[in-house]
């Protein structure tokens, strides 16, 4: 095959892209288009392919606005208040355009602010399908009103909303404190829909011409300064980037609003960016950009857009956590500035001592290209509350099949059935567990998804049955670009049903992707999604079986020859422009795919779908990975803040390609990456076509043993991971969390992103430095203790602990006060471990207390939901007694799993241990390790679903 790769344009294109294709005879054509885009031989993103704010006309216009000159005024006389909805008109005094402000108090301590044109020329896009329901409201009441403004009661906790009239401004107060202000810097800007100059002459609406509405008042002065005649600003009605022209038939439509957060120095979220956990100020640089893009060989530590966008930001200080959810699917830029940025700790201390300090404050500004302003302000106050607030709006993490929390083996590409079989056997030969093996684009017949290459995969069912016999599973890739080929069923059906996205002229939009010329199904259409879902039926997707799951890649969507490697903004999805819906396209692809998997099982089985592009709400449909990273130490490091940021805004099921996608990892890097990945939610190794093979046993017996060990650690902890995902699914709590989520008052935790928590009870500090001899982990909690999970050594909280490391070390600590159930009998797949017994790891707090949970169900169906078939137990250790009690008395599920062992860390030696169950008391054998104070109860033997108490006497 590689003979195809001679140094021609084709290869340039191939090697320079995530999924470079190799053997397509049409690629020659493709290369002509792509070579100019991708011909960058050094390893780094070609920044020139992607816009800066300055190159994005609306961003440039908006960013040119200066604060403090808001032309907007609230027309208080237009105020209308129904029970829970307040409306009020705003006027832009420069152009007299009226806006309509809607305010809602939402249940659960949230406020929704919507701003739209009062009478737009035509409707503006409002993002559907993100909110799980119309959010329930609570009554609002007017406390006082005068010419300057209105004071509204927000009900709970003495909260007030102050509407100031001139200039328009909103302040949310709690007691005397301002929690958050809107338009306090006067950067509200709403480009109203207008007629183009050509047509404007005929239209009688003699609108004042302006660029950004708020900017109007400056126009005169500016013109004089610039000495420019009045001429239409660039990019209002047409914009060209590189060779691509965006026709902008609707003209300027952007919107912007600023938020001030007094007392806040730390803001997080707005993924996806390859950047630190704590967001940086953007003064002097580009804003953080949210625009789903297929970025080839992305760079780290900058605000460039990546594959997914979740327009949610969290603000945190020791007193409160809040969130801002900006519901807009168009290209969005977020500016952050802070009055304390750049001050040293000493400087801040000096301010404090001298009492001269202004209160720290973070100012945020959101800019989107189209749509309306629709903001949800989540007022916390606790981190967990913000998570549940956001979950109440957009839903929680889907509850994944247990097996999908195991280890995934992926490569671009496993060449053929024989290859799959031998890799599968390799795992058994080396006694390494895995649950899923993956097939990338080469498995399909000419990149026609839903098909199999007849030479390489002639008997897919035979292959899948072989995996099923080993109780293992497979994922095949199904991308949303559809090969334009009249011999391809999927293409023909989409064409005949008229389901393709259209270009501006109303013809089917076509672009280049893996198969060559491709169409893009309009996933925004519910009928299209229903049809797509039906394609996953076993009789439609030939060769599929119930152990075959799906991977949606390239769903930004990636268009090799499109502007910024994506779809033209003037392409059409029904009546809406791609511009309006861009960031939600990927969500719809995953939504329809997940729905297809549910439907094929008659609604019984949980789906598993991995996506690269995502939006707010994507958490409901499956897993996300951080795209095409590289085999570099910095990429290993960045996997932590990238997944932490996603977890904060709802997406818990996150992982990075273990080993790094591009390039070949050193053995040390590969081992460290397995150690890190084993403690991240989505655990998949993946590799580029051009890399050498790197199955875990290819690096010598010592390294095989290291990798085996850490994968086994993962499998032993699957009960804990599963329970955390159940919790995430029920409550919205992130599975992998920054420390500050659980230690919100400990400022030392606020910027930590080289270690993290899994749930509340495991703290992981992966080794991410080459040649490391030790790491310094921060153990939080002044009153707490932490136990090294490998040695059971106890350490005090609130300290920086230096931990010497070797290549086998992965520093992990269990919080004193927690109980973690494990299955220490690791087998070749998670399904094989279904009925295995549990070992309880009881880590005592200094007060000799601990608690935890145990969740068990069938691991794969919706019966936990539809039939309450699960076991949910509370485990509590107090007063020298460990008790299991039922958290769901009306649930019914039988398990044959039992409790084989209990380890109590930090215990003292009892004289006797008794098991109390069914009214009987039986003695239990035990051992006590004095050096580490570990008490081991031997084979108490009770069923994992039973009520019982173990008494230490």
């Amino acid at each position: 095959m590689s003979a195809m790769f001679e140094g021609n344009a084709l290869s340039a294109m191939q090697t320079s892209h995530c999924h470079t294709s190799l053997n397509n005879y049409r690629m020659g054509l493709l290369s002509v288009v792509c070579v100019s885009l991708f011909f960058s031989s050094t390893f780094a993103v070609d920044r020139g392919n992607f816009k800066t704010c300055d190159q994005s006309a609306f961003c440039k216009r908006q960013r040119a606005l200066k604060p403090g000159q808001s032309p907007y005024r609230a027309l208080l006389e237009t105020l209308e208040l129904s029970d829970s909805r307040l409306t009020l008109q705003l006027i832009n005094d420069n152009n007299k355009v009226h806006l309509l402000l809607e305010l809602y108090r939402l249940q659960g301590n949230m406020t929704r602010v919507k701003i739209n044109e009062l009478k737009p020329l035509k409707p503006r896009f409002e993002v559907p399908d993100v909110l799980i329901a119309e959010p329930p409201t609570e009554p609002l009441s007017v406390l006082s009103k005068d010419d300057n403004g209105v004071v509204l009661s927000l009900g709970a906790e003495n909260q007030r909303l102050i509407v100031s009239a001139r200039p328009f401004r909103l302040d949310i107060m709690e007691g005397p404190e301002v929690l958050l202000s809107l338009n306090s810097r006067g950067l509200l800007a709403f480009e109203h829909l207008r007629l183009h100059k050509d047509t404007q002459a005929q239209a009688d609406g003699a609108e004042v011409k302006e660029s950004v509405d708020g900017d109007q008042q400056q126009d005169e002065g500016k013109k004089d300064e610039d000495g420019e005649s009045e001429k239409e600003e660039d990019g209002l009605w047409e914009e060209t980037f590189k060779s691509h022209t965006d026709t902008k038939p609707n003209g300027p439509t952007s919107i912007s609003l600023d938020f001030s957060l007094p007392g806040v120095e730390h803001v997080y979220g707005i993924p996806e960016h390859a950047d630190d956990l704590k967001l940086k100020t953007t003064d002097g640089g580009d804003p953080y950009r949210l625009y789903n893009l297929d970025v080839f060989q992305y760079e780290l530590y900058n605000p460039m857009a990546l594959y997914g966008s979740i327009p949610v930001m969290l603000a945190h200080n020791t007193q409160r956590t809040m969130g801002i959810f900006w519901l807009n699917a168009a290209e969005t830029w977020v500016d952050i500035s802070s009055n304390t940025a750049g001050k040293t700790v000493f400087g801040k201390m000096l301010d404090f001592v001298q009492g001269s300090s202004e209160k720290p404050q973070t100012d945020v500004r959101w800019i989107s290209e189209s749509g309306i302003i629709d903001v949800f302000i989540m007022l916390g106050p606790k981190p967990s509350k913000v998570f549940s607030q956001y979950a109440s709006l957009t839903g929680t993490q889907s509850f994944p099949p247990l097996a999908s929390l195991g280890y995934h083996q992926c490569r671009w590409n496993y060449n053929d059935q024989e290859d799959v079989k031998s890799v599968d056997q390799g795992f058994d030969q080396h006694d390494i567990p895995y649950d899923f093996i993956w097939l990338d684009i080469e498995h399909a017949d000419g990149k026609r998804y839903f098909t199999w290459d007849p030479h390489k995969f002639p008997q897919p069912k035979e292959m899948l049955q072989g995996l099923m016999d080993k109780r293992r599973k497979m994922v095949s890739i199904v991308d949303p670009h559809i090969r334009v080929d009249s011999g391809y069923k999927i293409h023909n059906e989409i064409t005949s049903k008229d389901f393709y996205v259209k270009n501006k002229d109303g013809k089917n939009y076509e672009g280049w992707c893996w198969p060559g010329n491709s169409g893009y199904p309009d996933f925004t259409k519910p009928e299209m999604r229903a049809w797509w879902a039906s394609m996953f039926a076993y009789d439609q997707y030939e060769g599929s079986m119930e152990n075959l799951f799906t991977w949606n890649d390239m769903n930004e969507p990636s268009v090799f020859n499109g502007p910024e490697v994506t779809m033209h903004k003037d392409a059409l999805h029904g009546k809406w422009e791609h511009r309006d819906i861009h960031n939600i396209y990927g969500l719809y692809v995953q939504m329809a795919t997940a729905e297809g998997q549910i439907q094929r099982s008659g609604g019984v089985e949980r789906p598993f779908v991995l996506t690269r592009a995502f939006f707010a709400g994507s958490q409901r449909y499956g897993a996300v990975w951080t795209g095409d990273n590289a085999a570099e130490w910095d990429h290993l490091k960045i996997s932590i803040p990238m997944c932490l940021s996603l977890g904060l805004v709802g997406v818990s099921f996150c992982g990075a390609d273990v080993g790094g996608f591009f390039k070949n990892p050193s053995t040390e890097l590969l081992v460290r990456w397995y150690q890190t990945g084993a403690y991240q939610p989505f655990f998949r190794a993946h590799a580029h076509l051009d890399t050498t093979r790197r199955e875990p046993w290819l690096f010598g017996p010592e390294n095989t043993a290291l990798i085996r060990e850490v994968i086994r650690q993962r499998y032993a902890l699957l009960p804990y991971w599963y329970q955390l995902f159940y919790q995430a699914h029920k409550t919205g709590m992130p599975v992998m969390r920054p420390l500050w989520v659980d230690y919100p008052k400990d400022t030392a935790t606020f910027t930590i992103d080289d270690e993290f928590l899994i749930g509340s009870d495991l703290l992981v500090h992966p080794v991410t430095e080459e040649g490391s001899r030790g790491v310094t982990a921060y153990l939080p909690g002044a009153e707490e203790v932490w136990y090294d999970v490998h040695t059971f050594q106890k350490h005090n909280g609130a300290q920086n602990l230096y931990i010497p490391v070797t290549l086998s070390s992965i520093p992990v600590f269990q919080r004193g006060g927690s109980i973690i159930p494990r299955k220490d009998r690791v087998r070749r797949s998670s399904t094989c471990m279904e009925n295995d017994p549990y070992t309880l790891y009881v880590a005592l707090s200094p007060k000799k207390f601990a608690e935890g949970e145990l969740y068990i169900d069938d691991g794969h169906s919706f019966n936990y939901d539809t039939k309450k078939e699960f076991i949910h137990r509370s485990l509590t250790f107090a007063n020298n007694a460990l008790t299991s009690s039922n958290l769901c008395p009306d649930c019914n599920f039988l398990t044959s799993s039992w409790i084989e062992k209990v380890l109590i860390l930090g215990a003292s030696k009892p004289s006797k241990v008794l098991l109390k169950m069914d009214g009987k008391e039986t003695p239990v054998d035990f051992e006590f390790d004095t050096s580490m104070s570990v008490l081991t109860l031997r084979k108490p033997g009770m069923n994992a679903g039973a009520d019982w108490t173990l008494l230490l006497q």
Binding site: F5, S11, D431, D690, N835, P837
Partner: protein
């Protein structure tokens, strides 16, 4: 949930249809039975601790080495022995006990998982015997073939060796012959050279005389031409009409200049013209052929300096050298023959050198301990897949060519044997093939297995640009042990 009922079980082993009951804990191989005595406490096989015997196979791991749970999955590092009567006994990791997957053909690993396993040992045993038998046959025949190959190779090698020896002997003679002929040649060439030189010299002299004659004639002719008034004198003014004779090349031949040319005289007669002639003859243009001269002047200007003389030469040398006289010719012919003889001999020597070198190169290859791979030398073997034709030329190169047109790609040239230490002749490595774009140079590993035929059986590209080729040859067939085709009937009982 306890598993007391599993503590001690009866294992039924079937040997040649006769059931024999062997009592021992589940998962224990017969060789270790003595360590598991029901009446005594059990000591972990690593000696780390002693436990009551009822804790053996009680589904709880007490021994660090896993030896107390040979029949359950309780220990992470345990192993389970299946007797697999009718087939071969084996150990599996204890994590595969009751995992729902049938690993032991006698089903003993899945005694409590609900997995529906069938005892397939007999069938497997039969198949294995068949396979073994077939393999044995192949090995046997292959080994016979190998013996032949070795014979042939040895013969061939000896032949080649003796050929080389012979050739080297011949070469010596040839060397001598060449030297002798060289002497003959050189001896013959000396008189030839002298005769030729003589001939040439004579001719040169003759040519000079002719040239002098010609010059004189031309001078006379020129004198007549210049002597416009035919008074028997060439005067200054007559000379002046030939501007091309202008010594300072300013375009005009002044009177003084003309006079200068004439050695200060006003006029010269034919005899004194002899002293003027050398000064003007190079520049002088005949009035008769002036037009022609203009053109040639033109050409001279245009043409580069070194070529200026060529026309003159051809003009003058048109007169060919006269043929050698008979004596000289005889000398020449003799020398030529000596030369031809010498060159022929030298060529023969070179060819022989090449042959020797080739054979020596071939002999220098590592064709295996018994030279059994010799027959592969200078052969090529092809395999056609759906897309490509792969070609293996052992000890030379591996290549790939698209089936439907396109150029050939080098997948590696012969590198070395690279099998495991105990038998490096199981793998061949071909390296430094065509470079991959932004990647390594292509390379191919050829895996050799015993077979009657010499065939490429498969190719694959497990990693990009790293090819794997499977190749059968009798040359790797091992001497069959005194084969009992059913070695597993006598299971350890």
């Amino acid at each position: 949930m306890t598993c007391l009922h599993l503590l001690l079980t009866l294992v039924f082993a079937v040997s040649l249809g006769t059931p024999v009951e062997i009592q021992r804990p589940r998962g224990v191989p017969l060789t270790k039975k003595q360590f598991y005595e029901e009446s005594k406490p059990f000591t972990c096989l690593d000696g780390s601790r002693t436990i009551p015997f009822d804790r053996v196979n009680d589904d709880y791991c007490d021994c660090k080495d896993g030896s107390d749970e040979p029949g359950t999955a309780a220990c992470p590092n345990g192993s389970f022995h299946c007797t697999n009567a009718g087939y071969r006994p084996m150990f599996i990791p204890s994590s595969r006990i009751n995992d729902g997957i049938c690993d032991c053909c006698d089903t003993t690993d899945e005694y409590n998982s609900g997995a529906k396993c069938e005892n397939t040992c007999k069938e497997l045993g039969r198949k294995e015997r068949e396979v073994l038998q077939k393999m044995a046959e192949i090995t046997k025949e292959g080994f016979l073939l190998k013996q032949q190959l070795i014979e042939e190779a040895k013969k061939g090698q000896q032949e080649k060796q003796s050929k080389v020896t012979d050739m080297q002997e011949n070469k010596k003679q040839l060397d001598e012959k060449v030297e002798a002929l060289r002497t003959v040649k050189e001896t013959a060439e000396q008189p030839e050279k002298e005769a030729k030189e003589r001939h040439l010299k004579a001719w040169e002299e003759q040519k000079a005389a002719i040239r002098l004659e010609k010059d004189k004639a031309k001078m006379a002719e020129t004198f007549l031409e210049l002597d416009d008034n035919e008074d028997g004198f060439v005067s200054v003014s007559e000379l002046q009409s030939h501007a091309e004779l202008d010594p300072d090349a300013d375009g005009t031949l002044t009177e003084i200049e003309a006079q200068g040319l004439m050695g200060g005289a006003e006029q010269v007669d034919t005899s004194t013209f002899e002293s003027v002639w050398p000064k003007i003859k190079d520049k002088y243009h005949s009035e008769v052929s002036r037009e022609e001269a203009d053109i040639s002047l033109c050409l001279c200007v245009v043409q580069a300096q070194p070529t200026i003389k060529t026309p003159e030469k051809t003009h003058e040398d048109e007169e060919a050298m006269p043929p050698y006289d008979a004596d000289t010719q005889a000398l020449i012919d003799a020398a030529q023959k000596a030369r031809d003889d010498f060159e022929e001999a030298e060529k023969a020597l070179r060819e022989m050198d090449d042959q020797i070198r080739n054979i020596e190169k071939e002999l220098s290859f590592d064709f295996g301990p018994d030279a059994e791979f010799t027959y592969l030398y200078s052969q090529c073997y092809e395999l056609t897949t759906s897309e490509y034709i792969y070609r293996l030329c052992p000890f030379n190169r591996v290549s790939q060519k698209p089936k439907y047109g396109g150029s050939e790609t080098n997948l590696g040239t012969w590198g070395s044997w690279s099998g495991p230490e105990n038998n490096k002749y199981l793998l061949m490595k071909y390296e430094q093939g065509t470079g991959c774009w932004q990647g390594p140079n292509r390379s191919t590993t050829v895996k050799l297995t015993c077979g009657k035929e010499t065939v490429v059986t498969s190719t694959s590209e497990p990693s990009r640009c790293e090819y794997l080729m499977e190749f059968t040859t009798p040359a790797v067939c091992q001497e069959p042990a005194n084969i009992d085709p059913s070695p597993h009937d006598h299971v350890e009982l």
